[in-house]
Symmetry: C4
Subunit: 270 residues, 4 copies
């Protein structure tokens, strides 16, 4: 009878420490920084077709007379206006730089926090606090971009037309599984500072290489939720929650049971 309030009191005292609140602040600031940079990179892609971002004169051959004659005659030619790798690099680099800026221990991704809590590496109430910080950071950066640019629809995570929803969930699960496995591997191995954020950035880039043309690559609920909350567009939004959650659970099981088994002694689990 007295146990519940006492338990809640202990939780509360664990949360209102300076280190825990600072970590909450870091999750918020890191997610906001990461998403402000990466989403504005996507918004400002020359190929996004918005009249605001006219192409710079230096980026386009305004004088095409120097092309070989046979190209001209055949009526073919072209300039690459958009490279799909820009999105891939923008997300990978921005997460790496954000983790580096705010310190190497932050998660900046609810799926990672969830896998940590599931594998008993993190207390549940701390995990909840971090996730709240991440979602607040996502909404804050999406709101900032909405105020600055007037429109954040191009950065919404949406299932591409023609893609079945079960395919979208499978792809999201695969890329989240891969990302969380990499994060857990970098945690279990002692690494020099800086290396871990860069490796996580590469895993994020890989996820975008796979999923960006199918689902826009959620892989991070804070990234999916921010623009959706700001534009109130939640169509098929459950896909990102399902894929992220499944991927995080699978990764926790794979890592702790199959890849680096911890079943030798029951005590190893705590």
């Amino acid at each position: 009878m007295m146990l519940v309030p006492r338990y809640l009191g202990l939780v509360w005292r664990d949360i209102v420490t300076l280190s825990c609140l600072h970590r909450f602040l870091l999750e918020f600031l890191g997610t906001a920084l990461f998403l402000s940079v990466s989403l504005s990179a996507v918004l400002m892609l020359p190929a996004a077709g918005r009249p605001r971002s006219d192409l710079r004169s230096a980026d386009i051959p305004t004088n095409l007379s120097h092309l070989p004659a046979d190209l001209h005659q055949s009526g073919l030619v072209l300039v690459s206006l958009a490279c799909p790798l820009q999105v891939v690099l923008a997300f990978g680099l921005s997460i790496a730089m954000a983790v580096l800026c705010v310190g190497g221990e932050v998660h900046l991704n609810p799926a990672i926090t969830m896998a940590m809590a599931l594998s008993l590496r993190l207390r549940l109430w701390r995990a909840a606090l971090y996730v709240v910080g991440q979602f607040l950071g996502g909404v804050a950066s999406a709101g900032l971009l909405l105020g600055l640019m007037g429109d954040v629809t191009p950065v919404l995570n949406q299932v591409s037309s023609g893609v079945q929803l079960y395919q979208a969930v499978a792809v999201e699960t695969l890329v989240t599984l891969q990302l969380v496995l990499v994060v857990m591997a970098t945690i279990d191995v002692p690494l020099p500072a800086v290396v871990s954020p860069l490796v996580v950035g590469l895993a994020v880039s890989l996820g975008h290489l796979v999923a960006v043309s199918v689902t826009g690559c959620g892989m991070n609920l804070a990234r999916s939720f921010g623009p959706a909350a700001v534009t109130l567009n939640f169509s098929n939004h459950w896909v990102y929650w399902a894929g992220s959650g499944l991927g995080a659970c699978l990764a926790a099981v794979f890592n702790d049971v199959l890849l680096r088994p911890r079943w030798r002694r029951p005590g190893d689990w705590w």
Copy 2:
């Protein structure tokens, strides 16, 4: 007379240890993870021309009126729908991340396992076991993609039309030689964890830069065999076996005889 069964008994007892079976599991899981991610990245390339993967609206300038007028008048213009570097990066990153996830000692490539066995760094029966795990991983991931996407023909390794078969074998040999040499170099030098998988990933990317337009870049028999077995399409499949085998043999000889000679004392070879 009694020697053969005794020998087989010793082999058997070496195999059914926990560490050896765990390594078999790691080779299987690592190859399956690596190929699921990289092959799905290739399958989902916007330019693969399948109706399923309609281009996302954010990736294409649906409103082209902001282009310079002279471009419009000349009838030229364009958008890069596919960058060949996406395939290059997807394979390099996915092998790096998979090696990182399952632990830095796995091979995930029959050519590497074969070179290790040839250079007497690995017992023959263990090598056979690892190769079986790799092939199973390749078939499993190809089967998974077949079930999910309904078609894995675009990821088949095929010799491009116009390429002579001896050219294809030569290119496969060159890229495999290069990859196995890099792996042997990273084994012989003490390296911080994480670095070795990333370097191997760069070597895989380099191989794809060279060979992807000629043979689709096999370089890994598990990658070549998986989609071929699932679609039962084995046309010119011997090219990948010949190139991989030749490359692995050449690499073992180059590394141990020319680059880092081990001939000083006969005992160094064991």
Copy 3:
């Protein structure tokens, strides 16, 4: 009354030391090297449309008959003449290589020097001296390119048409904030040599991914000022000063107050 000249004398004696003058020389040489390489990479982009840089025959399909027939019939086709990632990589790599060449402690960017001075990590007169060296380096490299190529207009930092000035300032602030935060993080953590320049290069690349299509990506006043001074084209030039300054101030505050607080004891600030 006697204090000012005595103070100036102390400053003067701190400046005319060999180490301080050598550092001034390094800032000058490093900025000149970095900008010579990166700006000439931008000037020589095939797509810049200048008659001088005819495309190399090997880079273009002069014989297009090997394309699939349906592509020909549909009148579509294409060659990527310019990849926006070239600019991104050229700036990131050239700053990384320049910092590596001249030694890991140089700034090569007035925004970084300013943030160091603001956070009391660097004496004010030294900061001023470094900034002078950086601006001289920027002007020297722009002058060199002007003499060699005859025109440096394509490398001018200009706000793209259609972009509001407050948007340009916001974007410049964001990318400078991100860059300076990364630099401060690499200074506060002990890192192996070589790693820090590469990480800063990645942050510069990320900034260009975000801002290159909006403002040409200043992020470095020496880079913005050099070409502007040589061509005497200062239209909207204040945008780069405002963005750089704001970003540096915000980064110093964020880093020292929020991310890695130094408020525990007043003495920590000196």
Copy 4:
């Protein structure tokens, strides 16, 4: 009178040691490996327009009906057949992997060997021996490709039409200067194995970003000389010798006099 033969005898005895001959072999093998991989990557670029390298079906949208309707109507569209970054990455990665394979101390570039000899870090006759090995490696790999592919004209280093020769020499000087400075910086600083080859690879990539559209990017006389010797096409070949030589001299002076001065005591020079 007796001094010259005695001196030559000493030189001879220094050369015919196992370590010196092994290093000669490494320079030969490393250069041959590096150029076989990088030049074949350039030869096999899809956009090189040779009938041999038909585009793979998976790389091109043979069915374009899934493109947005307005793109079709406007008659515009496109696929990126060639990304200029492929050449940039192929050279950077192949030099990094080759240095890694044959061991971190090799030069694989006459300009680097020359700068080492000039700065008295390497004995003159050893430098000559290494350079001979590098040239032999370049010719061997060009001959191999000629035999395999039947034509190596596309990989010839040639000054692009419209580029003045003094501009070509200046660009070659700049990129060689930059490369040799980076190599000297990585030699002077103690680095973990593997890092130095990767950094040199990045410097090579940066050089190609700058120079590939102007001179094809020589930067390495073994790379320029190999294809030229095999095809007997030496037009404007002096440009690469002049640029490489100038760059190496400048780099040696810059590094030892300005960046990391060694003038404190005369004895530091030996």
